[in-house]
Symmetry: C2
Subunit: 509 residues, 2 copies
């Protein structure tokens, strides 16, 4: 491995023969001390893995070398909306897409099911309505008779489709109404507030679809399928305490949702034996008043007790910069302790470029014994937070593309998780809300992590470790974890064989 | 101080009364552990300083609070070209401008003298010519008879000015030819290569002015005056081994340049008794061939021996991503050691978003015992480099606006020096090439450091420490340093009194 790196890099140094041996020794000592701290660097690869590494690592280096003279060519240096197509044509992406990636641990229900499926499946169902205002769909829902709305006009989608002359174009317009992708994100989304508003509008637009109980079931199955196809075998998703509805307007309580979720996941596991499962984290909003949050905390305590195999704990979410802090809700979040009870937390914290006040959510997350940290973008600016995270081994759910799209960082080489990765912090990679920005469940984010958050020297071992981390940092039971890891290892071996064989054929042919 | 912070911040937390005391104690412990690691946090302020702090810190907090709901309003979050005017209208800037800032340690001769002076003084001199190609000045120089050039047309500037109908507009056009400032930097400078090319074009355009020996002398005096007016009392500037010329075409060797530099600095010190001086760092280019660099190393060794009070050592500079590495020149840079001799180095290193290869310049800079590190943008991604820098206390010359203009980072809250500052690394703030982008010698960069690199909680103590750091990290002799620090303290006291009095009047009136 070390020899391989040296050979490739050294071709760039025509003068290298003149480096004295004593100097090289000192230099190598620093380099390897650094290298050995990076995620995955202590793994040993089998000879088959080395063969695959020689493909994916060489390609990475070629892509980097090709961009060094003009880094505006470097995919992670440009906006995801502008680099995605090029990414998808790259060899690195092709291999990452095939790779078994383990678990996706930071997701939001309602933004993890592809827009394609929503348009091509859900909107084709009878009684599916959209509420249109100035050619924009602002709401959706299933009705026997649509409501009267002052602000927008309710239209049945299949009727409108039937009336349209060009069905493909009609569906494309529906799709365009959903996607956040644009050619010129800098112009359309000039500030963090604008893009957050657009994301919230996405949730508002689609929630009437996802809350319809038959869609809820099908969407969950479809989501698991899409994740499974992308090499994800387990997921934990945040979800609000939603009340799904039937066509006649009756609603279910959240217990029904949990039971339905459990049943669909089990059905999916029956159909796909290599899938390890899915669990829920209840997520409130940092806009709620304190009494509402206290009710949610209590409800989640009950749910965790009632469904210990499905409901994991509680989180609070929202655009972190502008909403309430964790400290604002401190009494409510400490409530379980006053009851001598425990509610596992999975807090979003440090999803901000600011430090205090909002960066201090990191401190409160730690004091509230968070099981993991969502985002943690601000972590490296907090030395004591860093020390505590390392000491207590608190996993960090990093979502590179989300942070770029939601305007925390433009060039992903500047993503602070690079610092965490270089020091072997417990990092896993997730995708937050892949659907609205047309990302695959994990592949695009794994690409960004490999090409920009990891060092240029980080190779297949980084990818392997990141995948294993995700299972390790999940909240499966120990028995589930052991089984999931075994399933992952089988997939990994077959992935290695497939990539090796495919590329051997290419070289021979 | 602590009380003051709490009062201001806590107004934002309407729910704060419900925080249990035991929780607050744990929280404060983490917060103060972090706070005490930040640059300046261990300083104790006098009551006069506290009075000034209450103005500059409250204003900082107001500016931050005003931007929290829409951070596209936050000056360090936008491009310097777009935020500069608003910055100059801010109270924080007004106070920083008056503040004695100590030393500027990372500068490049030829880009530290205001364009205003070049246009209004130098181009008004007789025999000053410009070479124009498609309405752009590509070269300048002083000639009895201008040369014949295939690529551009030589015109005497004063003759052209006399012919022009509108002298103000003529001068404005000259100015526009020099400045890099534009309204839409994202469009005009889409990549790091484009903006670097434009900066190099600046150097190429003005070098014919600065190399003319009478201008060289006057420009140096003018530069010292501009720095002095901006509260800078000492500077160390990089300079190439230039050969200034006389009007008749004869040239001087570099020894003449050093002697001239020393004489002008001494003259200035006579005129401004509170000025501490200026020294030179010889800087080669990472484009040169190895034998040329070896010659420069040898020449600099001689110069350091001949002018120990003026010439400090050697550096290699250039757009780091695309040019040779320090390792490429390793034999040449190790040459002094082979002679059992020592040449102090002041290397640019880590001025890049890449890690290896070019990020590894940091490792070579350390192994070559660099006295300071220029930029060090990549440092936090190198854990072992961080450890060594901290252990050996190697000062880092941070240039915030330069890094933004030259496209390493767009939002300065993401500048990696924030991490170094939060851990009390030996950081000083400089301005690199302030003239081409119309920055003052240090004020604009100090503003950015205070508002974006330091934490929102960092107050006057940060600014005071950063100013003192610059003197401490300079390469003055110990005696010179002691005297400079004494001069700085006198200035500081009078600054504190002035700001306090001025603002007391405002409050009373």
């Amino acid at each position: 491995m070390r020899v391989f790196i040296s050979l490739v890099w050294l071709t760039m140094l025509s003068n290298v023969q003149s480096v004295p041996a004593w100097y090289n020794a000192q230099r190598d000592a620093i380099l390897s001390t650094e290298r050995l701290q990076s995620i995955g660097s202590t793994l040993t690869l089998s000879s088959d893995e080395e063969a695959v590494n020689s493909i994916i690592f060489r390609t990475k280096q070629m892509d980097i070398n090709g961009a060094i003279n003009d880094d505006s060519n470097y995919i992670p240096a440009v906006h995801f909306f502008q680099g995605r197509k090029r990414m998808e044509q790259s060899k690195v992406f092709e291999i990452i897409q095939q790779m078994p990636k383990g678990a996706a641990l930071h997701l939001h229900y309602g933004s993890i099911t592809s827009n394609d499926w929503l348009v091509k499946n859900v909107t084709y169902r009878p009684n599916c309505y959209m509420c249109v205002k100035q050619n924009v769909i602002t709401l959706t829902g299933f009705y026997l008779t649509p409501p009267v709305d002052k602000d927008c006009r309710w239209l049945e989608i299949s009727a409108e489709r039937a009336k349209s002359r060009d069905i493909a174009m009609f569906d494309q317009r529906l799709y365009n109404n959903l996607t956040l992708t644009v050619d010129n994100p800098e112009v359309v989304y000039p500030s963090i507030n604008v893009i957050w508003k657009r994301l919230q509008q996405y949730f508002q637009t689609v929630q009437g679809l996802f809350l319809h109980s038959p869609v809820l079931k099908d969407a969950l199955y479809e989501t698991l399928k899409e994740f499974h196809e992308d090499g994800v075998q387990y997921l934990e998703t945040r979800i609000g305490l939603i009340k799904p509805y039937e066509l006649n307007g009756t609603t279910h309580d959240f217990t029904w949702t949990v039971e339905t979720f459990r049943d669909v996941v089990n059905e999916f596991k029956q159909d796909y034996q290599d899938f390890s499962g899915a669990k829920l984290i209840i997520a409130g909003r940092k806009t709620g008043n304190t009494s509402a949050i206290l009710e949610e905390v209590k409800a989640t305590m009950d749910l965790v007790e009632q469904f210990p195999d499905v409901v994991l704990g509680y989180d609070l979410m929202e655009q972190e910069d502008v909403k309430h802090t964790l400290l604002y809700y401190i009494s409510e979040l400490l409530y379980p302790r006053t009851q001598k009870s425990n509610l596992p937390y999975f807090f979003h914290a440090g999803e901000t470029e600011w430090l205090h006040i909002h960066g201090n959510n990191l401190i409160d997350a730690i004091l509230l014994k968070t099981e993991r940290i969502g985002h943690g973008f601000a972590i490296p600016k907090h030395p004591e937070v860093m020390r505590l995270i390392k000491k207590r081994n608190i996993p960090i759910e990093v979502n590179p593309i989300s942070n770029q799209v939601l305007k925390l960082v433009s060039d992903l080489r500047n993503h602070p998780a690079a610092i965490l990765i270089s020091q072997d912090f417990p990092v896993c990679i997730s995708s937050d809300n892949p659907a609205p920005w047309e990302a695959l469940p994990l592949s695009h984010d794994f690409y960004m992590a490999y090409m920009a958050l990891a060092a240029p020297d980080d190779d297949l071992r980084f990818l392997k470790q990141i995948a294993m981390n995700s299972i390790k940092f999940s909240k499966m039971t120990n028995r589930e974890k052991a089984s999931a890891l075994q399933q992952w290892e089988t997939k990994w071996k077959s992935f290695i064989k497939r990539v090796k064989d495919a590329n051997t054929i290419v070289y021979v042919g």
